[in-house]
Symmetry: none
Subunit: 210 residues, 4 copies
């Protein structure tokens, strides 16, 4: 039995199964929470035996990692064109906020699952399993946007780490809570309101008026 990692490429079946399992895992976590998203529950949703998961993934951690990677990839592919389409820092921030809302609507369960994992899963030595979450994967980009905006004079002076953190918390936290509660909060409208707030808080002429 050749170890999994040794084989060079994955077959079509394997790729498909892995994707299916990841999706079922995401659904299970989003709907029942991390604690109840056992291997058995995930397998049940996928209509396969538990051991099929073990066959395709080294262990539960690898499944979680794959789920995270999938989400990070999805977020990047989703967000990059949106950011690229904007030229001003102000526009990019607005694109980031509204883009996050749309991403969360489209990939609801996947993103909720990431949160569940981030808050719950621990590696074998107890360290958190997730270092970088989807949104945080773009932290450099976000900080870069703010930095360039300040350089060009478009944005006022502020602590970039703080403002970037605030932007991310506005999405990761507030929006996600809304998602979780299955609330009827209109995420899109919410994002627009947020955009205005950040426009006021960051643009230079505002600071000038101070």
């Amino acid at each position: 039995m050749q170890p999994r990692a040794a084989r060079s490429a994955r077959t079509f079946t394997e790729v498909t199964r892995r994707a299916q399992i990841v999706q079922c895992a995401a659904d299970a976590m989003a709907e029942t929470g991390y604690a109840r998203a056992s291997m058995a529950e995930i397998a049940r949703r996928a209509g396969i035996a538990k051991s099929v998961i073990s066959y395709h993934f080294e262990d539960k951690n690898e499944l979680m990692q794959e789920l995270i990677s999938t989400a990070v990839r999805a977020f990047s592919e989703f967000m990059e064109p949106l950011l690229a389409a904007e030229t001003s820092a102000d526009g990019k921030i607005r694109a980031y906020l509204t883009g996050c809302a749309e991403y969360m609507i489209r990939y609801r369960n996947l993103h909720l699952a990431v949160l569940e994992i981030a808050f719950n899963a621990l590696g074998p030595e107890g360290q958190p399993l997730v270092a970088s979450m989807p949104f945080e994967a773009h932290t450099p980009t976000l900080e870069q946007i703010l930095r360039q905006g300040q350089k060009s004079g478009e944005l006022r002076r502020f602590d970039i780490a703080v403002m970037a953190g605030l932007l991310r918390s506005a999405t990761t936290h507030t929006m996600v809570l809304a998602l979780r509660a299955d609330s009827d909060l209109d995420l899109a409208a919410y994002a627009v309101e947020l955009a205005t707030t950040f426009h006021l808080a960051t643009t230079a002429h505002v600071a000038a008026g101070e």
Copy 2:
């Protein structure tokens, strides 16, 4: 069966033990995460037998509830005088932000534990165990502050729910992530920066300058 309170008042020993157990539970959760904070681990930290916990608490849920109550109480007692000392809406917002930072520094583990519970713990029927978290206990107050600020003309027009959510996410989420990562981020300085940002985003003359 019979509610604890119905039988009699708590003895000194009991009060002390319960507090100790709650503290050890908070430490365990903050340090190892909810999943690893088993009764055995909590007992180990307290240097007592597992069954001592069962003796003092009906079950794990009651322990969690007591932990939450402790945190909510601590937060309220901590925050109320700070808010009362300010008269302007702007001042109250600043007090809220800096107060949260100080609270989190002082009650670090307790607060992290509340987050763990809020995100993880499920009741017997699978419903989330925690409805209101410490900060959310003050949501009405927060929204009240914003509303009054708008009425007096001190604050510009904005969606109160969005801004209150943003304020809370700025504390609950961003600060907490910092706490969790055991980062050397200076929470106090962070709060000051946040205060400026929110000052700009909310005060009326800013909106006028738009």
Copy 3:
């Protein structure tokens, strides 16, 4: 601390407490079944601390034994005059059957508790805790009655052990099931019907008619 057994006589308080605990134990077992009649439950019903039971009884087994003894004593004191008042074997059998019914009505919980113990409780080595149950305490008497009835020609020839067993099962089992189910079966009427049946099954002229 002098071992319990060493002290010669029991104080008034002790006798009273023991009786109270036995009664509460009987109630608990009759109402909730053996498995739920824990020391804690018994103490709760008595309004005392668990350790009070330990103070008055060596261990749970001793409490059970005392309960059994109490029931056996009660049954004997109840039944003896009834049997003594009859002279014929036939009369004694009728007295036994109706007497059992009355005893069970009067000492309902105590007797049900004995059954619970008989069926459930095991000694430290796994042997049944109860060798002789109240009714069985009178087996010799019962067999003696039958034997004398046969000797005097009043009763037909039959296997004495079988008939005695049948008499006891008619009471211990059938009546008790009725008690347990809290049925509205009229135990007294039941006993009368049983008496007729046994009259027919045992008296000599019946056998003659065969």
Copy 4:
């Protein structure tokens, strides 16, 4: 969650294992009593891990229910041809009594286990787990036999419920006590003696002789 039967049919292995576990459970209960027949003890006897039982049975209740079902089925299959072979009421009663004795000899532990469960096991809400026991499954039949015997004039007038109860107690109770005590009482001979007694107590010409 999903009922076992809904998923698919049982494999050969599963059927075999379940039967083995049921048998070991019966042995454990018959030999050590309900309280000591823990999952661990049952697994030990079967030479398997505790969790194998959990794998094949939802929980302990399901195992108990399966054991009961097995016994009820065995009793029915055993008794039905015996009763069908007799035409007279008197013959059917004799067949019932001797049949019970043979059944208990053949299925000793299984039947003792049923008794243990009936007397001890409580469902999650404290209600008794077993409503109908093997013998009681045939109560209607028994009462029907007596009723027809009275109608045809073969049997004397008596209270049918009382007599049926007596017949059942004669088997369930008396015989079982004998079984339990591991006595050397010859059950078969016992049954013959019982049959005579009931013949005398029930047949019409006896009543006529009165």
